[in-house]
């Protein structure tokens, strides 16, 4: 609710005077918020900047093969370069072998050409073992891959400071030799599919929490104080339990010989045990349970501010109960609904423990893959690129949301 501002029609000079009088207070407010701004910069802006940089940074080839790249530049048109480049390659690889950096190059090139890790490591050993050329012949004899134009195209391409490789891979694209873009081979296309499934699961969970949570929030506002407090406790209690514990509880409930199946069989409703765990159903059920409080709380806090007298007034003016509820009450709860849905949707996008434990192989979300690329494969470029894609999608949806609903409709409490 906005108040009608009294100075709406006053002269500009008065406005300026008021602003000047406010200045010390504003300055104090700014100074007070400095710690928060500094915190945000360190905890938020800097990591996201680092995320963006890591997603396009390409230091490996430049740092391991500096002389080779320089020699390659002298032969711009050669598909497979001549002896001078191979001599520099031998020199660079021998040095990298000593400094233990050859594996970094091998791993980087292996992303684009599987098998390159071994080829580079063997090349580094070869360069260290012999002191004399002819290097081109020696390299090609040891592994014909060194005579492959594709390998040299990859080295040339990665001589650049920045690479589009990770970002393209994160959306299932690749660079063609001619410089254009093309989708990757069908059996390597995974990330768009995973992103779509992440969005779908998040949307399903959001809608379910809304359908389940809205009546609860309404009951919460109508309940007498003591009952309301108990209800609130029941809603908050799960929030104080570890996510892992709640997820494991769902494993116990959902498994084939679990409580739900036992109950259904005991009641004679089913004769064959249902596959509930390791399914999309299990994932959505567990996530909905975990997310419910996040949807309920903003809705309830907005509902509390709506005077009950309004509904009575609507009834007394002749509106049937349903109509009074839908036309008077529900529209006023929209800010809470929007806020609750937005929180749940965005949090759901980042889930990974729950889908990993309760979901099947087709329920793994983007975060699962980010974690694998960070922890196991040490492919932080691709992990960052996936993070950037997720962030972009989240911002896009947030933007769309504000556009459709309006920023003023969003209220968190």
């Amino acid at each position: 609710m906005t108040l009608a501002l009294p100075h709406a029609g006053t002269a500009p000079s008065v406005k300026r005077a008021v602003r000047r009088a406010d200045r010390p207070a504003r300055r104090a407010a700014f100074l007070l918020s400095l710690p928060l701004l500094a915190f945000l910069a360190i905890a938020f802006v800097v990591p996201i900047a680092a995320l963006f940089t890591t997603a396009v940074d390409n230091p490996e080839t430049r740092s391991v093969l500096p002389d080779t790249l320089r020699a390659l530049a002298a032969e711009p048109s050669a598909a497979v370069p001549g002896e001078p480049v191979f001599a520099e390659l031998a020199h660079d690889l021998a040095r990298a072998g000593k400094a233990r950096t050859a594996a970094l190059l091998g791993k980087r090139l292996n992303y684009e050409i599987p098998g390159m890790r071994s080829i580079v490591m063997a090349g580094s050993r070869l360069a260290a073992a012999s002191s004399q050329g002819p290097w081109r012949q020696k390299f090609c004899d040891s592994d014909p891959a060194w005579g492959d134009p594709a390998l040299w195209a990859a080295i040339r391409r990665n001589g650049a400071r920045l690479t589009p490789y990770y970002m393209l891979t994160a959306v299932d694209l690749q660079q063609t030799p001619s410089g254009g873009l093309a989708p990757v081979a069908p059996e390597q296309r995974i990330f768009l599919d995973i992103l779509g499934r992440t969005l779908l699961v998040a949307a399903t969970v959001t809608l379910l929490t809304l359908f389940l949570g809205y009546p609860v929030a309404y009951a919460l506002t109508l309940a007498p104080p003591l009952l309301g407090a108990i209800m609130m406790l029941c809603i908050l209690l799960p929030l104080w339990t570890s996510l892992l514990v709640r997820t494991t509880a769902w494993v116990v409930l959902l498994q084939s010989n679990g409580i739900i199946n036992d109950l259904l069989i005991g009641m004679g409703l089913i004769s064959k045990r249902l596959q509930l765990i390791f399914t999309r159903f299990g994932t959505v059920a567990a996530m909905t349970h975990i997310q419910l409080p996040f949807t309920i709380l903003p809705i309830a806090s907005v509902m509390r501010t709506i005077p009950v007298a309004q509904l009575r007034a609507a009834r007394s003016l002749g509106a049937p109960p349903m109509s009074a509820f839908w036309r008077i009450y529900v529209p006023q709860t929209l800010p809470g609904v929007m806020a609750g849905c937005l929180i749940t949707f965005i949090l759901s996008l980042g889930y990974y423990i729950t889908p990993a434990l309760v979901g099947g192989p087709t329920d793994q979300m983007v975060s699962n893959f980010i974690s694998v690329y960070i922890n196991r494969d040490l492919n932080w470029g691709l992990a960052s690129a996936l993070g950037v894609v997720l962030l972009a999608v989240t911002l896009l949806i947030y933007g769309l949301f504000l556009r459709i609903v309006g920023a003023d409709k969003l209220r968190l409490g």
Binding site: A50, D57, R100, T101, G115, R117, D193, S256, N375
Partner: protein, 349 residues
């Protein structure tokens, strides 16, 4: 901007993920990280406590889940607080190649020739051999599977199968069940046709597979009756049996892999750490480990010290080795990324 990228991430992760008690200078306290659970508890009983009793050097334990990112972050931050780490074979290869681990002075440990092939390197000293095996619950299934082909025989053995959600080990099992000789498995997998063949074999049981991810899930899905049989790490099955289960292991065509001790780059007590590793891989110590967990000693000279009744339950015991292969970590280092992506698309089909 480039200055903040990796190093920033690293120090950020390092500061949150890895920390340990600061070491006392006089009597070195070794900070040792291993995989936790029953495995680390066996190490505590057979190795850590005995080492402290013998040398007076204290051991402070850390646990992790095998994430090399943690080790790399610690090393790159320039403050290596861990002294000795137990790593799996892929981690050893990656970390050794990338200079995350120290190269070791083998003259201070023992003769490298005593180690089984593939269980020692310039950076790592093998400690145990474990196996990925097929297992079933004898309490539920009387005439259970006896060979790897039974995993794919849904006629004779109906019911779901638990498999590790990773192409590694599954493609190998599929090819061996499809008639490829153990010695040729990786030769076949090197070719695209070989990978196709392995996936085609997995296709035959795809709808019956329950995928597990964490090692502890395998005995859990077996115990809950979720699956009729599952692949699992042999130590997990052994532990479930200690808790009263009657799981049986099918050793046929087991896939072996090893754990190794490494010293992270920049570690502060290298001499004491080497002394610890030397002690940890002495034949008697390795044999003592088998009393607590059935992982085979990697050192050939340790076999003589293992109690005969325990020896038969080790993956390295001769009668368990029919058709056994060792996981080829170099192959997975090269082709892992490509095959894992294909595996993910295959799962979603």
């Amino acid at each position: 901007m480039l200055v903040l990228n990796r190093n920033f991430f690293l120090s950020l992760i390092a500061s949150t993920a890895v920390f340990s008690a600061s070491a006392a200078v006089a009597d070195p306290t070794l900070s040792i990280m291993s995989f936790g659970g029953a495995y680390q508890s066996a190490q505590r009983k057979a190795v850590f406590d005995a080492f402290t009793a013998k040398t007076g050097d204290k051991v402070v334990e850390q646990e992790y889940g095998g994430e090399i990112a943690k080790i790399k972050a610690m090393v790159d931050s320039g403050n290596t607080t861990l002294d000795v780490i137990d790593v799996d074979a892929p981690t050893l290869q990656q970390g050794c190649d990338e200079g995350i681990f120290e190269t070791l002075d083998w003259s201070k440990i023992g003769s490298q020739s005593e180690w089984l092939p593939g269980t020692s390197s310039e950076c790592g000293v093998g400690t145990v051999v474990y196996a990925t095996v097929l297992a079933y619950d004898a309490a539920k299934t009387k005439d259970g599977p006896t060979k790897i082909t039974d995993l794919f025989d849904t006629q004779k053995f109906p019911g779901k199968r638990g498999l590790w959600k990773n192409p590694a080990t599954n493609l190998e099992f599929a090819l061996m069940a499809d008639g490829v000789a153990p010695a040729d498995v990786y030769k076949v997998l090197e070719t695209p046709a070989g990978v196709d063949r392995a996936f085609k074999k997995l296709d035959t049981i795809k709808k019956d597979i329950v995928w597990w991810e964490a090692g502890a899930q395998a005995p859990q899905v077996l115990a809950s009756g979720e699956v009729a049989m599952t692949t699992a790490w042999n130590g997990r099955i052994f532990n479930a049996n200690k808790e009263g289960r009657q799981f049986k292991i099918v050793w046929d065509h087991e896939i072996l892999d090893s754990d190794l001790w490494v010293i992270p780059k920049g570690a502060k007590h290298v001499d004491a750490s080497l002394a610890f590793i030397k002690f940890a891989v002495e034949p008697q110590t390795l044999a003592d480990m088998t009393k607590f967990i059935p992982y085979g000693p990697v050192r050939t000279t340790a076999a003589a010290f293992v109690q005969p009744d325990i020896a038969t339950s080790l993956p390295t015991s001769p009668q368990n080795m029919t058709g056994a292969i060792t996981l080829n970590n170099a192959f997975w280092g090269d082709k892992g990324d490509e095959i894992r992506k294909r595996f993910t698309t295959w799962l979603a089909q």
